[in-house]
């Protein structure tokens, strides 16, 4: 191994160049195994005093395992060469456990207007781990830190909708909602502490729509 400030000799550079050339063309081959179970209970009430109430409980448990090969490809077809000639191999395991409790209420505000409001409380836990089975000397995967890392978060999202309907030909709506994508853990290289995991992002959306129908044309 070279020190950080060392420089390869010309013969060393030639040997490295020959090695890289011998590993081309290369292909990324990632067979993946996924096991996921989702459960949801969603009771919905009959109209009661002009209101329809929906509640729900959601739970997901997911685990996956990826074997990430950099291997030689067939120069004629660009497909994986078999038997597989491995340049580098990492295994990555990730998991997601999330639960949510939600509810919404729909009621009429008048003869033509319907309103809906809802809340959803969530919690998720992400975990990830990686192992370098065979370091890739070209891309430097040997520097991937081993170990299991987790990130988790709680939160509440909401939504509201106003629907205006005039006969069977005209419908307008306003929709306000916020949502999120869960954060997760980076294990694809050797990150700093701040880069190791990232939190969820929030999405606030506002949508206005109009639907019209007339003589065989619907807009």
């Amino acid at each position: 191994m070279l020190a950080a400030d060392a420089v390869c000799t010309v013969p060393q550079q030639d040997r490295y160049r020959a090695y890289v050339t011998s590993r081309l063309p290369a292909i990324l081959h990632q067979p993946m195994h996924v096991a996921s179970a989702s459960r949801e209970v969603r009771p919905r009430s009959e109209p009661l005093a002009g209101l329809i109430v929906t509640t729900g409980l959601f739970a997901e448990h997911r685990r996956d395992r990826v074997s990430s090969y950099i291997a030689l490809a067939d120069s004629a077809t660009d497909l994986l060469l078999r038997p597989v000639s491995v340049t580098g191999l990492r295994t990555i395991e990730t998991g997601l456990d999330q639960t949510a409790l939600y509810g919404e209420v729909t009621g009429a505000l008048g003869p033509h207007v319907t309103a809906t409001a809802g809340l959803r409380a969530f919690r998720y836990v992400r975990e990830a781990s990686g192992t370098v089975e065979q370091p890739n000397l070209i891309t430097g995967t040997a520097s991937i830190a081993p170990g299991r890392f987790t990130t988790s978060e709680n939160g509440v999202t909401w939504k509201a909708r106003l629907l205006w309907k005039s006969g069977s030909c005209l419908l307008a709506y306003l929709w306000f909602a916020d949502g999120f994508r869960p954060g997760r853990v980076n294990i694809t290289f050797a990150p700093t502490g701040a880069e190791r995991s990232y939190h969820s992002d929030a999405l606030a959306s506002y949508k206005a729509g109009l639907q019209a129908r007339r003589r065989g044309v619907q807009l």
């Binding site: 430097g140 980076n186 694809t188 290289f189 880069e195 990232y198 992002d201 619907q218």
Partner: protein
């Protein structure tokens, strides 16, 4: 917003919270009955997605700036579908839509100055479906990429400076037979 950025040596991508983004968009959809059995569906959308602030991740080899377009989001997309639907025999109906799907070009990074910037050109795809439905069974034939287009779905740049295109699936034919018990 969560986005994928390249590591310092450009060898790997990793995800990070990069800052706020504003996305404005509009979609127009129309369905026109040309005859009792023939319907034309048209959908067009416009999306303007951009960073609302300068990128927060200091470790990225390049920095997105407020106003830069969000990567991998085409500004224009749309599809047109001509669908025939009708009864062909007692208790049997046939649906046969022909779809043209298109999307505009998009870039892989916020800015051309950021390492790994590449543009994926616009593409058009032609799909066809035939579904025969009986009260007890259904038979469907789906044909994707009828013209066998070979344009890449996405183009990226590696740390070695080489372009890699993550190619689309080729022309595909799917036959499905389903029964009701």
């Amino acid at each position: 917003m969560i986005d994928t950025i390249l590591s310092g040596d450009s060898a790997f991508g990793y995800d990070a919270n990069v800052g706020d983004a504003d996305i404005d968009g509009a979609e127009v959809a129309a369905a026109v009955s040309l005859s009792p059995a023939l319907t034309l569906f048209l959908v067009g959308s416009w999306t303007d997605a951009g960073l609302a602030e300068d990128q927060r991740s200091p470790a990225a080899p390049g920095q997105g700036s407020a106003g830069d377009r969000v990567p991998d989001v085409p500004r224009l997309a749309g599809n047109a579908s001509l669908a025939w639907s009708g009864r062909v025999a007692d208790r049997m109906r046939l649906d046969a839509p022909l779809d043209v799907l298109g999307r505009g070009a998009h870039a892989s990074q916020f800015d051309p100055a950021i390492a790994g910037y590449a543009r994926t050109p616009a593409q058009v795809q032609l799909d066809g479906h035939v579904v025969m439905e009986h009260t007890r069974w259904s038979l469907s034939l789906t044909m994707r990429k009828l013209l066998n287009e070979r344009r890449p779905d996405q183009i990226l740049v590696t740390g070695l400076g080489e372009r890699q295109s993550f190619g689309p699936y080729p022309r595909a034919i799917l036959l499905t037979l389903a029964g009701r018990i």
